[in-house]
């Protein structure tokens, strides 16, 4: 449980959360924001594993992608709600 919470927290204030949110805010299409966030999640996991596929678990990748998807979607919602352009 602690491992799970730690991974979620690290991703929220890591690249998937922050860059995912920022990329999501660049579009009004929620699906596009989510996809960009998800890709950041994949990218981040690979970067911190030094591009070695044996150095991370499927759960780490899954959590990073889900956080990226959520952050990207939230970014797009913020764009829709908070901008007129």
């Amino acid at each position: 449980m602690l491992e799970f919470l730690g991974t979620v927290g690290a991703n929220i204030i890591g690249l998937p959360g922050i860059l995912g949110l920022a990329l999501g805010m660049m579009t009004r299409r929620i699906w596009l924001g989510a996809v960009m966030g998800g890709l950041v999640g994949i990218f981040e996991t690979l970067v911190f594993a030094h591009w070695d596929f044996t150095k991370f678990g499927a759960s780490d990748l899954l959590i990073a992608v889900v956080i990226g998807l959520c952050a990207g979607s939230l970014g797009s919602v913020i764009r829709i709600k908070g901008a007129t352009v």
């Binding site: 927290g9 690290a10 678990g57 908070g82």
Partner: protein, 233 residues
């Protein structure tokens, strides 16, 4: 029908203000102000995080006194070169993602301090094996990532190491072993039956990683520990 602004509570008014376009500030002003606020926030956040990496912070809890006393007897605290590895050097990863994960997981230490899980020497000894085991598992799974922040096989000159150390390090490279395979107990006292527990840890980690990690413990690990303790004296 939505309430009029006058009827809204303070939360509603703040929410409304957040999503109302700014008319009194230019875009340039808002971007610059946001940028500066971001720098201040991030700098403050990072600075605070670094404060939690200090030895004073780590050992400010009563339950950390035993660990501190043991660590002060080792080569990582006092040595001929004057280089010191403090708690965070071995227990906190450097890379951002791993570091934040470790910091969040360290909240458990606060809980156990408050709960008094290891508040007496007897309780500490009772939990020593499980605490050591948890750290070994992390180190084994990460290929001793925190050790490798300072130590690296690539940087070792085996010709100036003692013969046995050079031979063991060469064997470690040949067998794809990792630092913690031999150096358990390098900074804290070892619990009884630690070798059996370490074997369990290696098997557990290997099964989680589909057997890709080695499951070896160096021969003569007792000699290595005794050598390192002697060096610290």
């Amino acid at each position: 029908m939505a309430d009029s602004p006058e009827k809204r509570g303070w939360i509603g008014r703040i929410w409304n203000a957040i999503w109302t376009p700014a008319v009194m500030f230019s875009s340039g002003f808002l971007i610059l102000a946001g940028f500066l606020a971001g720098i201040l926030f991030w700098g403050g956040f990072h600075w605070t995080l670094e404060l939690t990496n200090t030895e004073e912070f780590c050992t400010s809890c009563h339950t950390m006194e035993t660990n501190l006393g043991e660590y002060r007897e080792t080569i990582h605290y006092s040595n001929h070169s004057g280089v010191r590895a403090i708690c965070s050097d071995c227990h906190v990863p450097h890379e951002w993602n791993h570091k934040i994960k470790a910091k969040i997981m360290a909240v458990k230490d606060v809980y156990h301090e408050l709960a008094g899980t290891i508040s007496t020497p007897e309780k500490y000894e009772e939990h020593r094996l499980s605490m050591a085991s948890a750290v070994w598992k992390k180190m084994k799974a990460s290929d001793s990532r925190e050790c490798r922040n300072c130590h690296n096989f690539d940087y070792m000159d085996f010709t100036i190491q003692e013969t046995r150390a050079a031979s063991e390090h060469q064997r470690a490279i040949d067998n794809n072993m990792t630092c913690i395979d031999c150096h358990q107990g390098i900074a804290h006292s070892l619990p009884p039956d630690y070798l059996e527990e370490y074997q369990k840890v290696t098997e557990e980690v290997a099964s989680e990683s589909n057997g890709s990690l080695p499951q070896q413990i160096a021969d003569g690990s007792e000699e290595i520990r005794s050598y390192l303790t002697t060096q610290a004296d």
